[in-house]
Amino acid sequence: MFKAIYRIAWKDVAGDLRRRATLSSMLFFAISVLVVFQAAFEPDRKEALRLLPGLLWATTLFTTLVGLGRVFQAEEEDGAFEGLLLASVPRGVIFFGKWLGNLLLTLLVEFLILPLTMVLFNVDAWAHIPAILAILALGTLGLTGLGTLLAAMTRGARSRETLLALLLLPLTAPLLISGVQAVAAILATDGQVAPWLKLLVIFDVVYLAMTPWAFGWLVEE
């Protein structure tokens, strides 16, 4: 079972590194988002520090959407998705495999984007990098979990990228709010992080406990 999860994730990550497809588009999309923010707000150092939590999460959300748009693209070639469903493992295992692959790629992009954001916006918060990364990772668990399900749901839908954004945004709104507030609390040094972390954990647990079953119902024909 774990071998199957690992193998699906490996297939997606290795495939992506070989083709340099999703990872680099996510990365460059994230950079474009940062450029747009810079042009729109032109923040000074102090404003940039205040904007940083929102900036990071908005960039994360947009890049996640790019990644999610492609999660099941590899499965479109030559009926591969059908092949996955014929595997003799529970459907939840297939879901976790796809989720893990997407999660690894998204985390990789986040780890690259965080220092880049700090450099580009002249923000001095280097000491907080591990904490901020941990919060981003915690939020990304649930974000990609729900996102992978929605990506499966919109397979073969018309204008799926727009649809994916339309579905993901309302459902993850509480998670995004908690994520932004948690990072803001870290940066403010006196802020309360704990309640927001609790909220993030609750959402991760709820979404990751529900989505594998939902995936199973979704593919049952």
Binding site: M153, R160, L163, W217, E221
Partner: protein, 232 residues
């Protein structure tokens, strides 16, 4: 779906009577000591907000039933409830805005209650779009039902947002639980209660109308598909 055909006129009649009584009470109700005549907007706003949330509960129940037993009727009711719920969410937001401008001094504030209501509207829209973006109607129905159940997780947050968070929006006036006190006094209360009932009936009526329309359209589609098959 024959039962819908039978109950539709009854529900319609009950709605009309309840609305008539309710509106008469609204006409009779005095102005609020602070808000003046604008308090009357709340007679639309509060019941609409109730229906907006109740529709989602209804939709979730129908979705679970559809996934579990695969009754097509449950799916039709879910589809109908989505559009009715969306309509009442729009009414809630619009009437709230119209009340908020003179009272609060702003059309809109990004507080927890307003934000979560807007989120609910986007969710309804997502349900409606998802269904018709998938070419296979059965796949569309199943995906929509699953999305509805996941969205139901957001409902408690919307409901409790006012209780948890210190917001611009006032707490519910007809709260239940530990805060059972009714905050609406004297002749201002009956129209709100009667109109709440009237709006629930109206919501039901709209669901039956919409469901019958969806049923008819699906029947037509099936006939069309069968004819194409014959021609082949």
């Amino acid at each position: 779906m024959n039962i819908l055909k039978k109950i539709q006129p009854l529900v319609g009649l009950a709605t009309l009577i309840a609305l008539a009584i309710g509106l008469w009470y609204v006409y009779q109700a005095p102005a609020d000591f602070q808000q003046g005549g604008a308090v009357r907007i709340l007679y639309i706003h509060v019941p609409s907000a109730k229906i907006a949330l109740l529709s989602y509960l209804f939709l979730t129940a129908a979705s679970i039933l559809y996934l579990w037993k695969r009754y097509e009727g449950a799916d039709i009711l879910a589809e109908a409830a989505a559009s009715v719920g969306a309509a009442f969410t729009v009414i809630t937001l619009a009437s709230g805005s119209i009340w908020g401008k003179p009272m609060w001094g702003t059309w809109w504030a990004w507080d927890a209650r307003l934000t979560s209501m807007l989120v609910l509207l986007i969710l309804y829209k997502g349900l409606m779009v998802l269904r018709h973006s998938l070419d296979d109607p059965v796949k569309g129905a199943r995906a929509t039902a699953i999305l509805a159940i996941i969205g139901a997780v957001d409902l408690p947050i919307i409901h409790y947002s006012v209780v948890w968070w210190r917001t611009l929006h006032q707490p519910p006036s007809l709260a239940t639980g530990e805060n059972t006190a009714v905050h609406i006094t004297g002749p201002l209360l009956p129209p709100l209660l009667i109109l709440s009932v009237a709006f629930i009936l109206l919501g039901l009526y709209m669901v039956t109308v919409k469901a019958r329309q969806i049923e008819a359209r699906r029947h037509l589609d099936a006939l069309e598909a069968a004819r194409m098959h014959h021609d082949e």
